[in-house]
Symmetry: D2
């Protein structure tokens, strides 16, 4: 049985694990105050070209979204995102748990654009009774999106400008940032990402770590007393080193980019296999998640040979499924996949 | 200057005020334990044909929606409603403040139907990862809706049945219940309403009271220790008599129905005036709220003679506006309106 | 049966009711934007000697405490008060419902002092791990306190100074403000109150209104977009006039002071009666609430003649009970009380 | 520089790390559905002698307390604990963030007892207005406590019985469970713990893991749909294996007990050193945390040779400090400590 079910089916990238092992017996202070957190933060700030950035490590994606969004929004604000945005659809109401509404606009292939933001804001501020409505206080986008698509630099620039024109900050969910930046289609760098938002996070869990996301406040805007705010959301790890050491490894010698690049290469190979076999793609994804339309008959046939993710029903006899690659994808797996399609 | 801006532009119906005045110096116990709350509850239970119902008085509509929804939902559940539902669009995030998500399905003229509920629930339960999503735990509908439309008995029966088939309760927001029940188009009674939901509220604020909504739990399902749950939401009035006395008046000698009937009559006259003058209606509303498409030029012309509510832009030169009637609408106002249209 | 159970056993003061009646048929805009809210706010600002104050009307005390505290505190802050403070003990967790902790220090006769605040703050900031604790962000005091006691001007000045020295704001709960200001022992005016806090509220419910509290932000510090913040807490009344008209009456021709003065007079007479009959006082209260130690036998004897409030057990055979006066207390009631003690 | 600052200054116990390394490349499903989570749960259930127990893995202690308490309490309930309880004092308001109040009773050496619970409950239910107060719905105790002390079996039996007599559940915070169970003074086993509570957690972070706590519902009482409730609190790890694998190692061949035993041995040696040098203990702790009263002069002297935790000021010239042992404490460290005291 091989698996393309997700990008979190294996443990840590060997170099990450090696760093954990090597530092395991060192005595380090707790709660993110250790030297590895510091070192990792420095490397991330350098990678962002943003020396004044503030970096904070958290354990998982939903947690990060909840912490960032609910500490940055004002009481009466909500977060604006695509209807397919992860915070809207697949976090079991984590934003609402923190008291804030998720406001949605229709996405196209998982993406929103400046025009959509403007339309929403104009309607909102044009409404006489908008003081009885939830103010849009932040734009949330994911890079890559939940559908594997990415934003161009021009799109990000327009979104950033438009959001700020309406007093909204921009938060980029980079759960799979490595795959977005290393996509053959990407025209942005991590420096661009840092520049074109107010806060983003560098995904670790889905990009080679056992767990961990690095939140980067890029505009000297980390909420005051962020530690107690994190703590009261249950999100402060005692052994912060677990996060610091992993990100220190991920940002040493270009490992994070290497992981992204490798998975993208494998994804391209995977796409080619599906294409050669005549399968249709549900969406044209330039990153590590591929969405393929398959007949339910075929799926039944391969179910004991490979695992993948159910995405949605496409027709009465067809289903959209997701195949994801990662640093752990092997050529053997791809070859075997070819034989069973 | 006359006003059709809303159904809450005047104080209390004279008979309500009279009852407040008459009982003003009586010594009564606090927090809803007084004899008028008891009497009003009895009369409402009788009007519902539901002797086992439990009645609780709250001060306003948004408060009532928050209290009812957040005390009846389980932790992991959200409330399902039309995208135009009041709890979704116009309560500044009151449901989210209580930690719960509002899930929406497209409404038609403010209404949803059993098929829409089924479609949502099937998609939800059919999704492999629905444990990462917000469970639909309650269906919220308003009667009449935010667009003045009403549900037929058959529609309510289907919604109730479908909701329960998917483990959802049904909550009917009756902020304007009097106008819904007395609509010439209505085929339901208050008994039907009580039977076809798990909880509903009898709107007072918009139907003749100074403030107040009567929540009716119709299936012996009032949450245990409801008083502290209400109190901690800041919704327990010390002088509960203010609510009890008003509802006691509203449910004496058929006043509540009379108020509804009168406003509906006036709304029909108002519709006739607009129709005769050649205006188009945005929606065909059989209740006390009328939505008319007017040119911005015309609106500017009448702006210093009559107040109404902005609803939404219809085109570059036209706007949808709302004219509402109530117990306080006079024939003189209607006549004057005719002269300025 | 006579009643001294509380200061909210009667309806509205006749002059308040009269104003409601007189204005009942006027057409007024909703949500606190009407002319009576405006007029009442002006009169309150004048009474406070604080023309730049911002006034907002809410319906009840617990609601007001929740709205004010949770909109003024930062995410990581809690509110500091006496262990007997209303927000700590008797609001069913309304502050916690809004996500904030109530931090307590021991009170003496319901009061706290600057030294207690300093001790708490020094311990907090002196603790190496205070970033893992709830920051004290606001001092809450009630005037009069839950035990009927009041603060002197000197005490308030010290509290205000000390709170600000530690970055805390001061919130004065004036649910019974009229009785505090008119106490024979008071050396503060409403102007002093306004000056010596950041926000306070003028209690209506317990001082002659049917409902209503007037929040006064005295330092140009009303939270931005307060309306949606109020709305999402379910606390925005559609017919805001109900509150505006009542406060307009309360602040016309000195009615608010008159109500306070009258109740204080009656309380002094009541005290005299109890003293003459040889009863002991649990506390020396200079306001309208009196706490008397009575034998359980005596209580059983008078239980069908007078109502009062249970306060707490004093000994196996004695209980502390509360007798409260108000504008509605009559000489006849006091005379009758004398005969049954 | 040596460190006794806490029991989370090192990484994972070597055997835990080894298991992570060995399983690193295995393909496993996400979100706690993998075989190691299953295996670890089985082993924990066996260790508890409770085959029907339900086990769920979370990442950290504060998170666990928030998730367990807020999913088990009813809306109107709070959690009762010692005033020194971790959830009351040192979690930055995590319980309040979830909407619930922490109710406190005075602890003695960090412990509460059945009599204290009874006193609180009797006062609560004896109060006429307890429906305006927060209901005590759960008793929270820590084993060992924040002061290193432990409960005897008899004490736990009484607490459990008393709590249930007043409709409260019992939750045991076992962040340092290994040290409590292996204390020379302990007369309880993990089976006793499971039997004498409704839910407890087996601490990983402070007992040899990199992170992780295993929640054990012992009475078939895991809240329905616990996964979405965990997810919406941001507490569901994608790579649940990280927790499963670690607990699988901790519960193989008695490692968890071994870790506890070793740290207790080292703590006893440490106590002996302090005692021989004439230091006074702030509290008589039979577990791995030792609280010593030291002069500020002495502390300044050793500050560049050893790290410890500040606990609280004892007098103007003395401070209570905490020295903690763990699996990573070495004989060399103890010897060096002896030389500098």
């Amino acid at each position: 049985m091989i698996s393309f079910a997700s990008d979190y089916i294996a443990g840590a990238h060997p170099k990450v694990l090696e760093h954990l092992t090597k530092t395991n017996l060192e005595t380090l202070s707790g709660y993110g105050t250790d030297t590895y957190c510091e070192s990792a933060a420095s490397k991330i700030k350098e990678a962002c070209g943003c020396p004044s950035a503030e970096v904070f490590f958290l354990a998982g994606g939903t947690q990060t979204n909840q912490v960032v969004i609910s500490t940055m929004l004002k009481d009466y604000e909500g977060v604006l995102c695509a209807d397919t945005g992860h915070v809207s659809a697949h976090e079991a109401g984590a934003i609402e748990f923190s008291g804030h509404k998720v406001l949605t606009i229709p996405g196209v292939d998982g993406k929103i654009d400046a025009a959509g933001i403007k339309k929403f804001a104009d309607k909102f501020y044009g409404d006489d009774s908008h003081e009885h409505m939830v103010f849009p206080g932040m734009v949330y986008i994911s890079f890559p999106t939940e559908y594997g698509t990415i934003y161009s630099k021009a799109e990000l620039e327009e979104i950033y400008k438009m959001a700020h024109a309406y007093d909204m900050s921009v938060f980029i969910d980079g759960a799979r940032l490595a795959y977005g930046l290393e996509s053959y289609k990407a025209d942005v760098t991590m420096e661009d990402i840092a520049r074109l938002c107010d806060v983003f996070y560098v995904g670790g869990t889905k990009c080679g770590a056992l767990c961990g996301e690095a939140v980067v406040f890029t505009k000297c805007n980390m909420p005051a007393h962020f530690v107690p705010s994190v703590k009261r959301r249950g999100a402060l790890l005692a052994k912060g080193r677990l996060l610091g050491v992993q990100f220190d490894a991920l940002f040493t010698d270009g490992l994070y980019s290497e992981i992204g690049r490798y998975a993208i290469e494998k994804a391209e190979e995977l796409k080619k296999i599906f294409a050669e076999k005549g399968y249709r793609f549900f969406i044209n994804s330039p990153t590590n998640q591929q969405f393929i339309i398959m007949s339910d008959d075929k799926l039944r046939e391969i179910n004991d040979k490979v695992t993948y993710s159910f995405w949605e029903k496409y027709s009465d006899t067809e289903t959209v499924v997701r195949f994801a690659t990662s640093w752990s994808t092997t050529d053997e797996e791809l070859e075997y996949l070819r034989t069973i399609l």
